[in-house]
């Protein structure tokens, strides 16, 4: 039996039952009130109560059945499952209608059920974090059972090729041991991030200063959303731009000076990543600079400072925590950025200081390890989770620091938009 038909059967039976439950509950309440008894709640609320109490057990039962089915604990035939869920719905409908009395607190009962549904939804949102955390930690532990942690964190050789053979079940005694020293990968990540920040921080910060201090409100209302278009462009588009336009341009420019640049240089990926991060920094810094109270500026101007001096010596220092936080958010974006580096940076781990050479990043290695026909529990695949774990921890720390800094800053100036 096809899945579509099962869905149709379930909802085709379920929704009418809920509707009937509503009608039955409401008419029961109406009947009671027709006898001259004052009801605790309104008649329609008894209808809702009946519908909720009819629906929930059936839904819970059906979901449990599906989960049991998925985990191969107990295979209830799908048709049986649907039939019994609908049967359960009918049974609960009967019991609930029997128990409706004038004193039944329908309104409070609905309130409780709905509140619990909302709590359930919140739990799902929170579970996502733990889901990420546990899935990554769990798979990383698998990886570290095979490879040493110190070798991973401090080794300078990344040669997983033999793990690839093992993953393709062709490993043997004669192949050399795979090496998972991630230092060149971390170095490449930080180097490309550094280049990106070198582009994004000055441009973003100066744009923010112009928008908040010099531009008229009208101009600012045009510039700010326009710059935010840059943030809305998908990163795969930036990656294409970096690979097709920026990389050849960099090669040509450095060829004039007689230097050879790689077509997948760290510089190209870094610059484009910087362009992507400009709006993050400009937008957040603009908020922060605008949040500095006007009194502070007026005080400085009254002492004879001109506008630029006021900005440099008074406004920026007071906005500094917020600006640093914005920069940190930019750094965390750059560290986790994937598509630009996958398309414009190299696959080769390369420990160098020359930005014209090719370098690789954590995210590139994650993608490389997981795209392909590897067995899931090969060391190469698991190394992606170990790298992901490092990425998670680093970005999490940066995010927490930056979010709490921004929040403290806004509290200081009594503004709350984060």
């Amino acid at each position: 039996m096809s899945n579509d038909l099962l869905f149709l059967l379930f909802f085709g039976g379920f929704i009418p039952i809920l509707f009937i439950a509503y009608i039955v509950g409401k008419s029961k309440a109406n009947k009671i009130s027709a006898q001259g008894v004052t009801l605790h709640s309104q008649a329609s609320q008894y209808g809702w109560l009946t519908a909720l109490y009819t629906g929930l057990p059936a839904i819970t039962f059906a979901t449990t059945g599906i989960f049991l089915y998925l985990f191969d604990f107990y295979l209830i035939p799908p048709f049986m499952l649907i039939a019994s869920a609908l049967g359960l719905a009918a049974l609960t409908l009967f019991i609930v209608t029997q128990n409706i009395k004038a004193t039944t607190k329908a309104r409070d009962l609905i309130e409780n059920v709905l509140k619990n549904i909302l709590i359930l939804a919140t739990l799902i949102s929170i579970l996502t974090t733990f889901g990420i955390l546990f899935s990554i930690i769990f798979e990383s532990l698998h990886f570290f059972q095979r490879e040493s942690i110190t070798g991973f964190l401090f080794g300078t050789q990344w040669n997983p090729d033999t793990a690839f053979l093992e993953g393709a079940s062709r490993g043997g005694e004669d192949v050399a041991n795979a090496q998972f020293g991630a230092v060149p990968i971390f170095a490449g990540t930080f180097y490309i991030t550094l280049i990106a920040m070198a582009v994004a921080v000055p441009i973003g910060l100066f744009s923010a200063i112009y928008m908040s201090e010099y531009a008229s409100l009208k101009v600012r209302n045009i510039i700010k959303p326009t710059l935010e278009i840059l943030a809305g462009i998908p990163t795969v588009v930036y990656g294409f731009f970096a690979a097709i336009t920026v990389a050849p341009f960099i090669v040509d420019v450095f060829a004039i000076f007689g230097m050879t640049a790689s077509y997948r240089s760290a510089l190209g990926a870094g610059i484009v990543m910087g362009i992507m991060i400009i709006p993050i920094i400009s937008s957040l810094s603009d908020d922060v600079i605008s949040a500095v109270p006007q009194n502070v500026r007026n005080g400085a101007l009254a002492l004879g400072m001109n506008k630029a001096e006021t900005i440099k010596f008074v406004v920026l220092p007071s906005a500094m925590p917020g600006i640093i936080a914005a920069t940190l958010l930019g750094v965390s974006r750059a560290l986790g950025e994937t598509m630009i580096v996958v398309m414009a940076a190299s696959l080769r781990p390369n420990l160098t200081m020359n930005p014209l050479e090719d370098m690789t990043t954590v995210t590139v290695k994650i993608v490389e390890a997981l795209v392909g026909d590897q067995e899931f529990d090969s060391s190469l695949t698991l190394s992606a989770f170990a790298l992901g774990f490092v990425l998670f921890v680093v970005t999490l720390i940066i995010n927490i620091v930056s979010i709490t800094t921004i929040r403290r800053f806004h509290q200081k100036y009594k503004i709350s938009n984060l």
């Binding site: 990420i132 100066f206 200063i209 974006r333 994937t338 999490l396 995010n399």
Partner: protein
Amino acid sequence: MKKNINSNFYIPQIEKRNRLARRFKYTTLAAVILSLSFLGFFLFDIVKTGYPAFQQSYIKVEIKFDEETASNPYGIFDKTMSKLISRAWLRSLPQKIAKNPQWMGTTQTFWALLNAEADQHIKGRLSRLDDSLKIKIEELLLKEEIEKRLNVIFFFTGDSKIPENAGFYSAIIGSILTMMVTMTLAVPIGVMTAIYLEEFAPDNKITQIIEVNINNLAAIPSILFGLLGLAIFINFFGVPRSSPLVGGMTLALMSLPIIIVSSKAALKSVPASIRQAGYGLGLTKWQVTKDHVLPLAFPGILTGSIIALAQAMGETAPLIIVGMIAFVPDAVTNITSAATVMPAQIFTWSGMPERAYIEKTAAGIIVLLSVLISLNTMAVILRKKFEVKW
């Protein structure tokens, strides 16, 4: 202004200070102009690379149908012509002959699809054609036997290994299916979470931790959601790989925090007096929320959801991890079979060795960007239209 050095108010460094101030102002202006010109150049570059792909060249050919052509359609054209005509078009010829038996014994005129190399040459790009073929093309262009038409193939066929026959259709359908999964999961759960946190939850340590956690989740690199999808959805729950279902679920987790944060902001902007008036009339919390707060916060929630949808639509990294870069020639119709999405198709094409894929990639980007920009504009317009100022 005349300088009065003897004045009591004269400040010796004033000129220098003012000059520095002006320089500072122009530096900031230059930064704005620089970033705006990045945007301008970027859009210009993409459009310039991509717009030729919306046209495709066709060549006029006459085919005399007899027993021989029917038995061997590939042998119809001489060597020069078969180097110009697309293999995809030739391949579809036997089907057409079988469908139209009345052609037998007659001569029919067709506009045949030109192959990518010739098409690139006509569009003035580099191609690997021989000089003799290039001259031939010039002749045919003069005789108007080659013409450029709107590229229907791009919009109505799926991916192909033959560049001139590759289209964006299956990616568009894949994106729509994936987004449907994402929205049906993320919007209800996100809005419900926001309602709980904003209206019901007690203000204590746990709630604060949850809020910090959600803010953090919004800033976690998207690729980590891909790792989650791979480890939990695919390996643990056995959801089919590459399917819109697993892609949509992964993106739903990614857009949840965005939807929660924006819905919470929308709920927060509803003034407390509305709630108090409701409580004063004896309504319960849920009644106040359902009948008064939610309708007022609805425009904000809608805008936030659309923006989250746009962001999820452009996301590639987590989808690559869950395998949504499959080669999908035909559009999928259900959410459990292998599919591709627009950004993933762009990524796949950008890695193709043939030059003709460059303009296809850029054309795909134009389509994707127009969808995203119109979604975002829609969000802004909706917000402007329904926004209530208190």
